[in-house]
């Protein structure tokens, strides 16, 4: 009996042949060819590889359009990095003007999110009873699930009037960096809280007990034992928070104002917390929301900004991931 016919007959979709296959010990040695499973395997492999194509797509799109931007003859890399203002109409492309506004909003966000996020995390991990934690954590998740455009609305209609009420209408402009930054801090708070809480909860219990045994108070144990032990996870949380603040768009688009600030020279107005300044993300959204023709310098410039933004967040994410990995190695 030759093998191919044997396999061929067994492959016939009939219950009789299937039963025969079970009885015939010889055929079970050979693996039945299953073209459908191979196809499925290829599809699954394609799904896995698609994420790499996404990354390559992002790099290619940002890189090639940014290259066109620098080849346009209107701007070179030195000017891109040092010019005081970003004004496409005047053919001035100083990315640092946009970056400075991004740094300002991020700074304000961190002023809110780091102390409050860490404080809340310490409360949840060290002080709260299980029942309290079971109530508080889902509430914080609600805060994390609110769309950013809603936070933008909140910044413009709540935080800005609040700041203007406190510091005076003349000091605080309608669109200002501080309001956008502070609300961004509230937005990031749940991320930092939950990541830091995970880091603190992962600190082994015996470290705390050893500290109590040496007659340290609860606070001393937290500040001198638990926090240092969970530090890498906490720092990773901070960096993820910073990365989210840098890439955040709708809050700054609505509340931080339209129009890049001027970094130096006459009328320099960057680093003014109560004045308007456009961030990288804010500028991209404003320009692309209007009439935008392909192959214009405006269109290409968006990708140059996008590339800068992408590099910022990529570096931050890589740092945070390497810290988290090291932290995992210690405690697992």
């Amino acid at each position: 009996m030759s093998l191919p016919t044997e396999v061929g007959t067994i492959n016939a979709p009939s219950a009789v042949f299937d039963m025969r296959a079970q009885r015939d010990a010889r055929t079970t040695i050979f693996r039945r060819p299953r073209p459908a499973e191979t196809l499925i395997q290829f599809f699954l492999f394609f799904c896995g590889v698609l994420s790499i194509f996404t990354t390559l797509g992002i790099l290619y799109v940002l890189g090639s359009e940014a290259l066109l931007f620098f080849q346009s003859g209107l701007v070179d890399l030195g000017e891109f990095l040092t010019a005081p203002v970003w004004q496409p109409q005047a053919e001035e492309f100083g990315i640092m003007s946009l970056v400075s506004a991004t740094l300002m909003t991020t700074l304000f966000a961190m002023i809110v999110a780091i102390p409050l996020g860490l404080g809340a995390a310490i409360y949840l991990a060290e002080y709260a009873k299980d029942r309290t934690r079971a109530i508080l954590k889902p509430i914080l998740e609600i805060l994390a699930g609110i769309p950013t455009v809603v936070y933008g609305y909140f910044a413009l209609t709540f935080m800005t009037p609040l700041l203007r009420g406190i510091f005076g209408q003349d000091t605080v402009s309608i669109y200002n960096v501080a309001s956008a930054g502070l609300v961004m801090g509230i937005m990031i708070l749940p991320t930092i809280t939950s990541m830091s809480e995970d880091a603190l909860s992962a600190v082994p219990r015996n470290l705390r007990e050893a500290s109590y045994g040496l007659s340290a108070t609860k606070l001393e144990t937290i500040l001198k034992v638990v926090l240092p032990a969970g530090l890498s996870g906490i720092i990773a949380a901070f960096i993820v928070g910073i990365s989210r603040a840098v890439g955040e768009t709708m809050i700054v688009a609505l509340a931080a104002g339209a129009g890049p600030c001027k970094l130096y020279g006459d009328g320099a107005n960057c680093f003014q917390p109560f004045d308007a300044a456009e961030t990288m993300t804010g500028h991209i959204v404003r320009i692309s929301g209007g009439d935008l023709s392909y192959n214009s310098i405006d269109y290409n410039s968006l990708f140059a900004i996008g590339l800068t933004l992408f590099l910022f967040t990529l570096v931050l994410n890589l740092i945070s991931r390497s810290i988290t990995n090291r932290f995992r190695e210690v405690y697992q």
Partner: protein
């Protein structure tokens, strides 16, 4: 662990005496209490922000307004409620107040003859494809009785158009001032005083308006905040989310299955190709996690360059013969969103699959099932609750994300409901963004109303996630 061992200062004895220890202890406990208050305050601040955010939205979504009328709406339609009026009532109002404009509406919207023949041709010649009363068939437009005119309007002209006409041309509803809910309740006297002193009582009126009302959900876009609604945006959002999930769910789950179930199978680790595959699979994992951290606006730029521009023949539907659109379509937006939420779905699905005990797989293999039969019949059903949770998390993101949609869609005014993946679109978050960006308080008010709809949508979605998880869990246990 250098921080753990705090050596005693050199100028003090290593152990304090009893009295000093007690003195110090009180101070240490006091410090502990002060810090604990700070920790509690942190979480209270977070909760207060959440409360402030919700109250702030609700505060704007209803309140007193001062409106100006040319004609009292109560004279035009019953009870003065234009939103609740039937098509017949709206048509009758138009014919009663503007009989000639009613004819113009018929001419511009319905008539099929050239405009210079409009007054001489009969209704049956002009309105071939529309419905009209039998009695009107042989009459020219000018001879129509008011009843016939309003019947033709009511049967053929859309309610939105008639409402718009009544409000713009007859009633002339014009919002002059808008107050928040707080002012309307606790400061009503001052508002009334202001209204009595500054405004003409004949033509203006102070009334309470719920900006979030049934007609807000059912009317389309409008440049007038009184008429504007979110129907178009809501339909756009539903289209986008549906296609996004349709694309992202199979690919995301597929990638997770590949990474969890197949990745370790390729080759053995001692061969070069085996080593390469191991490195490659780890690279995919790292890459997915990095993609999860890429700002959404970058995905918007990717979608703009790839889907809107480079693949415009596909995303505009040109390859299917659709001619009336460019690449800025629902399909482009959905594909962009699908890429955006893929990492979320993959990471959650991976965790769900990883949590399935290997005994289930081994039992299945032991019964003679193939790899795929095991995955399809055992692993996936058991992992479904976790996979669905991740998918719904991704859907929530797709509903709320604004920046990529603004970049991909960009269109400001969409007056036609999207009807296919190749339609241009607006979406709920885009609408909120555009209304919030307007300086007038009325637009802020309808933005708040739209935010409530968006949040309710997210709430329903998350509630259904919890429900589905329970359902699948129970099914598994049964």
């Amino acid at each position: 662990m250098s921080a753990m061992t705090t050596p005693a200062p050199e100028n003090k004895p290593y152990m304090p005496d009893e009295a000093a220890f007690r003195r110090g202890l009180a101070g240490r406990h006091r410090r502990g209490r002060v810090w604990k208050i700070f920790f509690i305050l942190s979480i209270v601040m977070a909760l207060l922000s959440l409360v402030a955010l919700f109250l702030n939205v609700v505060n704007s979504a209803a309140g007193l307004i001062i409106v100006e009328y040319n004609v009292d709406p109560a004279d035009v339609v019953p009870n003065g409620d234009i939103d609740a009026a039937s098509p017949e009532q709206l048509a009758a109002a138009i014919v009663a107040y503007e009989p000639n404009r009613a004819l113009v509406m018929i001419r511009d919207n319905l008539s099929s003859v050239a405009s210079d023949q409009f007054s001489t041709a009969t209704i049956s010649q002009q309105l071939g494809s529309y419905t009209y009363p039998e009695s009107a068939a042989d009459k020219t437009p000018r001879d129509l009785t008011p009843e016939e005119r309003s019947a033709i309007l009511a049967q053929n002209i859309s309610v939105d158009v008639m409402k718009q006409f009544i409000i713009d041309e007859i009633v002339g509803l014009n919002v002059l001032e808008t107050y928040s809910l707080y002012e309307s309740i606790f400061n009503r006297a001052a508002v009334e005083e202001h209204f009595a002193a500054e405004f003409d009582q004949e033509t203006t009126r102070l009334e309470f308006r719920m900006w979030l009302r049934p007609s807000f959900l059912t009317s389309g876009q409008s440049s007038d905040p009184v008429l504007a609604g979110i129907r178009t945006a809501l339909i756009g959002t539903l289209w986008i989310v549906a296609i996004t999930v349709l694309v992202a769910f199979p690919i995301g789950v597929g990638a997770a299955i590949y990474l969890e179930e197949y990745a370790s199978l390729f080759g053995n680790e001692n061969t070069l190709s085996g080593k390469f595959m191991k490195w490659f699979n780890r690279f995919i994992e790292t890459n997915v996690r990095n993609l999860a951290g890429v700002p959404s606006i970058i995905y918007g730029l990717l979608g703009l360059a790839i889907f809107v521009r480079a693949a415009s023949d596909f995303t505009s539907g040109k390859f299917l013969g659709v001619t009336d659109s460019n690449g800025r379509t629902i399909l482009s937006a959905s594909l962009t969103m699908a890429l955006l939420i893929l990492p979320v779905i993959i990471i959650n699905a991976q965790e769900a699959i990883r949590a399935i005990q290997s005994s289930i797989r081994e039992a299945s293999y032991g019964l003679g099932a193939t790899k795929w039969q095991t995955i399809w019949n055992q692993v996936l059903p058991a992992a479904m609750p976790g996979i669905l949770t991740g998918t719904i998390l991704g859907m929530s993101r797709a509903i709320g994300e604004t920046a990529p949609l603004v970049i991909v869609g960009a269109s400001t005014a969409i007056f036609v409901d999207p009807s296919s993946p190749f339609s241009s679109f607006t979406a709920l978050p885009i609408q909120i963004y555009q209304w919030t960006a307007r300086p007038q308080a009325e637009f802020r008010a309808i933005a708040a109303a739209a935010i409530i709809v968006l949040l309710v949508l997210l709430l329903v979605l998350n509630a259904s996630a919890i429900f589905l998880r329970q359902y699948f869990r129970r099914k598994l246990q049964a």
